[in-house]
């Protein structure tokens, strides 16, 4: 009994030792500074391993790390239970616009009538010109659910992975971009 407990503590202590020794003095200094910002800040600043990797390489991953990174991110993508990757464009429009959901206009154009869309991302007016082949639909779905699965450390955030958009939400936004009836594609020749 005693021996077991000792073993447990020994294991815990050595694990802790490993964790601490993995941090360089500079990293410890950074953690200390983050801690000084208060517990809520500290909590918000916790990173998953790939966020940490992007930070370490200043958002430019070395080529040899890219394939494994993309593979890890692809595994995080979940699809709707019914397998339909294109939903209702009208629902998609609301999600695309809502600052608490997609917030896509912060960085992209979409419906050409929307004033004051940002331009950090490529313009999406007429996105439906690429058609609705399976490949296009899946590419679009994957991009929106997890932008890092095709572009490591992209500015575009991983909305599905973080649970901001559910798989069904994602499918609705796919429809907003690809459905020929969506205002995004109003300027395309039918």
């Amino acid at each position: 009994m005693k021996g077991k407990r000792f073993l447990l503590w020994f294991t815990l202590a050595s694990l802790l030792g490993v964790a601490l020794s993995q941090q360089t003095p500079f990293q410890q200094r950074v953690s200390q500074a983050i801690q000084s910002g208060g517990p809520e800040f500290q909590k918000s600043m916790q990173q998953d391993p790939d966020q940490a990797l992007c930070s370490q390489y200043r958002d430019k991953l070395p080529a040899e790390l890219v394939p494994a990174f993309l593979e890890r991110q692809r595994k995080l993508i979940k699809y709707p239970a019914d397998g339909r990757l294109m939903g209702d464009w009208k629902k998609g429009e609301e999600l695309f616009t809502n600052p608490r959901k997609g917030n896509c206009y912060a960085c992209h154009t979409g419906d050409p009538r929307e004033a004051g869309a940002g331009n950090m991302g490529p313009g999406l007016v007429g996105y439906g010109a690429r058609g609705t082949s399976e490949a296009v639909v899946k590419y679009t779905y994957d991009k929106i659910y997890n932008a890092w699965a095709s572009m490591p450390c992209s500015l575009m955030y991983r909305a599905g992975y973080h649970g901001i958009l559910s798989p069904e939400d994602t499918a609705h936004i796919v429809a907003f971009l690809l459905d020929p009836a969506s205002p995004v594609n109003a300027n395309l020749k039918r």
């Binding site: 208060g38 930070s55 958002d59 331009n119």
Partner: protein, 267 residues
């Protein structure tokens, strides 16, 4: 002193009026720089004074008043150029201070002086007073070149810390400062053009933000960016602000930038 207060009350009354006018002006300008210019002119014409100037006047009064348990003014506060020397003080902050043995930005330095000189307890220091004092001290660095050059080991360490936080990606929006303010500088989030530190990011703070109708210090502005990407902002006066300010202002110095009119006037 009296006159000063009267001027302030009068100013605030006019300000309320001006704001009423500003808010009822229907046509919205889509170019954010032109819109700021328009709003500024409206204030000038209707109130005859800019909100930032009112905050600075309030700060001036606080600065010279004998306050706190020790009943002294802040006139002996040293911002790095000698006790009470305010001319250009903001241009060289943050910097290392031997008396507190740490690197401080303008806001933290004001708190240090309120605690050390006037005898306030840190928890008694009112945020609104610090903001008014920041506006006053900053007003003495209007349009001057930024001159933040990390020299001491403490300053260099703070700069490195700031750079690390600058690249720290976190939160459910996967953001860090660099991805917007470096990689995509020159582009726009919605209508707002984003600048890099080399392009002068952080050279207009403290500033009156007409969209919020409030004075924002640089710490407030950084907090606002953290909030907008879903990260709970750090506590005021904590190290992350000092480190990030050090990094941004040192880079702005390398880019040979000046402060704008101080306090600034912006969206």
């Amino acid at each position: 002193m009296r006159k000063n207060r009267l001027y302030r009350v009068l100013g605030l009354a006019l300000l309320g009026f001006a704001l009423g006018v500003a808010l009822t002006q229907g046509q919205q300008e889509l170019d954010p720089y032109k819109e700021a210019e328009r709003q500024r002119e409206l204030f000038r014409q209707t109130a005859g004074i800019l909100p930032g100037e009112l905050y600075a006047a309030q700060g001036e009064e606080l600065f010279h008043a004998k306050r706190g348990p020790k009943q002294v003014s802040l006139e002996a506060c040293d911002f790095g150029l000698g006790p009470g020397k305010l001319e250009g003080a903001l241009t060289q902050l943050p910097r290392y201070f031997a008396d507190t043995k740490r690197v401080e930005d303008l806001e933290t330095r004001i708190v240090s002086c309120m605690v050390r000189l006037q005898g306030f307890k840190p928890e008694e220091v009112k945020r609104d007073e610090v903001k008014a004092l920041v506006a006053y001290v900053a007003s003495k660095s209007s349009e001057m070149p930024i001159n933040v050059v990390p020299r001491t080991s403490q300053e260099i360490a703070m700069y490195n810390l700031g750079r690390e936080l600058w690249y720290h990606r976190a939160g459910d929006r996967d953001m860090n400062c660099a991805i917007c303010h470096e990689a995509y500088a020159g582009r726009k989030v919605r209508l707002s053009p984003v600048r890099s530190p080399r392009q002068g990011l952080s050279n207009e703070w403290p500033a009156y933000r007409f969209e919020a109708d409030k004075l924002y210090t640089l710490q407030d502005r950084i907090a606002f960016c953290y909030e907008s990407v879903g990260i709970h902002p750090p506590d005021y006066y904590s190290e992350p602000y000092i480190a990030l300010s050090m990094y941004m202002l040192a880079e702005a110095t390398r880019g040979k930038n000046r402060f704008t009119e101080m306090p600034g006037f912006t969206r």
